[in-house]
Symmetry: C2
Subunit: 307 residues, 2 copies
């Protein structure tokens, strides 16, 4: 990516699914990369790593000092889990995110990118696809936390001139997504199918999601990191909806085997259908999702069997 | 007010401007009233008072236990001040508000009413008047805090069936508004004019606000406390916009004296114009603002000279 060579990039929460992919991509783009967070789950060639807690403001500010670009990817529990203790994100994640904003302001970083959630901030039941100016009424504490941090990003942009960019990511899938942490349906499904294990689906399988391959997400992040525009926030997805049942069928075809699926009672935090309108990303980031769905599934499968 | 007689009403933040008026009105309506918060600034006949901190969750939960109706009026710094430490509300006010929601859920209260802010949650520069489904992009940490608590109210309604109602109040004025705390322009202006002191105005005086007399706000709160509808949130204002300059002229006419006004550089937290669309309140609460503006000014004046 032109524009990031030599830039000092700090990836907060860099040890997770998207963070690992992002650090590798930044390294390839010639950036000077620092990852910060809990010990990474995967060893990759991607610059420096700093073990640190998100609640440790001094350590985080130290990691941010000197950075030109900061990528805030630190997430909390998954949406379903977050409702078990609705106040947890508000007590931990949001204040820590504001500390990130303050540290970025104080360090005069060129750009702060915040990864929000296109799957959880919008009101359930909206016509599809959902554009960025649609009503935001999260039905999980996870979504409220993401939305709140978005608002603080906008506030710091306005008050202090901090150049923030907020991306609302749909349902990413691909290499480095852990199949065991409730992170993503595709990883869980592929892993279980490969191991001949049964798969539980919340609800009747008609839930529709917008699955976007992680490389496409990474390209959107890199484009956002060097963009000059001001329009905010920006949806990042495939723009295509697939039901859980359809995903199961596609994986069955890919693997040429039947998957043992059981349907469980739906979760309150699951919105019935979510597909993002990605026209703003196309215009603002000169970006489009490139990975065809079946190819993406195959690449994820190939990674899983070697991981 | 029919419907509140004998109800056990707890007013959190009951010692302030709206809280004092509300406790008096609830008492008159035959409710069993408990106020909770910092020591009240004014002595009124309005049930029991409990000195307590908002951060003291146990004391607050104890005050809430046994209540049928809880009114969450606890506010933080004013919008302008809030931006001096943007994380303060997020660290204190929001987690404490979630604790209120949890306590209300656990105590099976019939209704939780949350007083939000019609003056600070909306995006600046919207066409007037502003309806409830307009974009919410606060330009103060105060506004973000209010909006976040609104979202948690909706979450607790959805997850736990807690009957919440959110009112977005415009710029209230009237008796018990303290002229010394940056709470309201009308109180400050009247007080200073009465004392022959000069008045500073942020900006050029063209800022437009929706001033609503406190008795009208109280009537809306009482109606909301007994309503059965589900539509949320609800704007409460006069629906009429007045510039700061116009307010100064009206007060000059009322007092029959000139006011020494100086114009200061505008504050980042001030949206240029804010007038609420109150049609939803009219329908949902069978309510309308009744106090004519000049009457309201006169009543506020009369209270100030005896307070």
């Amino acid at each position: 990516m032109v524009g990031l060579s030599g830039k000092r990039c700090v990836v907060l929460g860099g040890g997770g699914f998207i963070g690992t992919n992002l650090r590798v991509a930044l390294q390839k783009a010639g950036a000077v990369v620092t990852g910060y967070g809990r010990r990474p789950r995967f060893a990759v060639e991607a610059g420096k790593w700093v073990d640190g807690d998100f609640a440790d403001r001094e350590a985080m500010a130290h990691a941010i000092a000197g950075a030109t670009h900061v990528f805030h990817l630190i997430g909390s529990a998954d949406p379903g889990q977050s409702n078990l203790d609705p106040g947890l994100d508000a007590r931990t994640h949001v204040p820590a995110s504001i500390a990130v904003l303050e540290a970025c302001r104080d360090a005069n970083v060129e750009k702060l990118l915040f990864l929000s959630s296109g799957g959880t901030v919008y009101r359930p039941g909206l016509p599809l696809p959902i554009a960025e100016d649609a009503p935001t009424d999260p039905i999980s504490a996870y979504g409220i936390g993401k939305l709140t941090v978005e608002k603080y990003c906008a506030l710091f942009r306005r008050l202090f001139g901090l150049d923030t960019v907020v991306l609302r990511i749909a349902n990413p899938y691909g290499p480095f997504q852990c199949p065991h942490r409730g992170q993503g349906f595709v990883a869980k499904l592929l892993y279980r199918a490969l191991n001949g294990e049964p798969v539980q689906i919340w609800g009747d399988g008609q839930i529709v999601r917008d699955y976007v391959y992680v490389d496409d997400v990474i390209q959107a992040i890199l484009a956002a990191a060097v963009r000059h525009g001001q329009v905010e926030p920006i949806n990042v997805g495939s723009g295509v909806g697939r039901s859980l049942r359809d995903v199961v069928l596609d994986v069955e075809r890919l693997l040429e085997r039947r998957i043992d699926v059981s349907f469980e009672v739906g979760r309150a935090a699951d919105t019935p259908a979510n597909v993002l309108d990605i026209r703003r990303a196309v215009v603002e980031l000169d970006w489009a999702p490139r990975q065809p769905w079946i190819n993406g599934l195959r690449l994820t499968h190939d990674w899983l069997i070697t991981a």
